[in-house]
């Protein structure tokens, strides 16, 4: 069966520090991968998605970037965190095609102080 992992689960970082959040998927190959940010009362906002290794699409301009160095690994990064980057970050995967549901990871709670 497929599983999706995210780490760390929680993170507290100072403003201006770098960020690296990791997401890995097991039990499937060539998944579509997604990064979302969940803000209270605003639902989930799609940040990045990837349909293959090295292929990243950004949905909103921001202080963050994403990379996909391996088929089942998706990384969310920042060179210098801002206060506004605080939030709950969710990784998700799907097997491609609009008829397939997305499966979500446990999330990372990021607090920027």
């Amino acid at each position: 069966s497929q599983t999706i992992h995210q780490w760390p689960a929680t993170l507290v970082q100072p403003v201006g520090s770098p960020l690296s959040l990791e997401c890995t998927v097991e039990g499937t190959s060539n998944p579509n991968l997604y990064w979302y940010r969940q803000a209270a009362g605003r639902g989930l906002q799609l940040l990045f998605y990837s349909v293959g290794i090295g292929q990243i699409s950004s949905e909103v301009p921001q202080n963050l970037s994403a990379s996909r160095p391996q088929d089942r690994q998706f990384i969310l990064s920042s060179k210098k965190l801002l206060l506004s980057d605080s939030g709950f970050y969710l990784c998700a995967w799907s097997s491609g095609g609009a008829l397939n549901e997305q499966f979500f990871g446990p999330g990372t709670r990021l607090t920027v102080l």
Binding site: Y34, R42, G43, S57, A98, N100, G107
Partner: protein, 114 residues
């Protein structure tokens, strides 16, 4: 760009009450519709989905949703809620795009009092 609206941000019900959560979307073309649920401390998970066919879709745990194309709506219903239904509910839409990208509504927090 698409948008999804969930007008009820917080709902409080007593057990056995009926539930209806509203969801409206803006896209005028063919859409695929989803309801996701996030129970306290758990992953976001799929409750039900609509792609085509019968506009009344049944999902897990006694939930159902009705797609009304003329109203751009996909409301979630349950005839009798339980305390264990306390969770946050998200409506989501995709337009058949190649990346299977979803647009989510703002979510509705449901609290069911025992």
């Amino acid at each position: 760009a698409q948008s999804v609206s969930q007008h009820n941000h917080h709902v409080i019900l007593s057990e056995a009450a009926s539930l209806e959560l509203g969801c409206n979307y803006s896209y005028g073309g063919t859409v695929n519709l989803f309801w996701y649920v996030q129970y306290p401390g758990q992953h976001l998970q799929l409750l039900l989905k609509y792609f085509s066919g019968d506009p009344l879709v049944k999902g897990i745990k006694g939930f159902e949703a009705e797609f009304i194309k003329s109203k751009f709506s996909f409301n979630l219903r349950k005839p009798s809620v339980q305390w264990s239904d306390t969770a946050e509910y998200f409506c989501a839409v995709n337009d058949g795009n190649a990346g299977n990208m979803l647009t989510f509504g703002g979510g509705t927090r449901l609290m069911v009092k025992p």
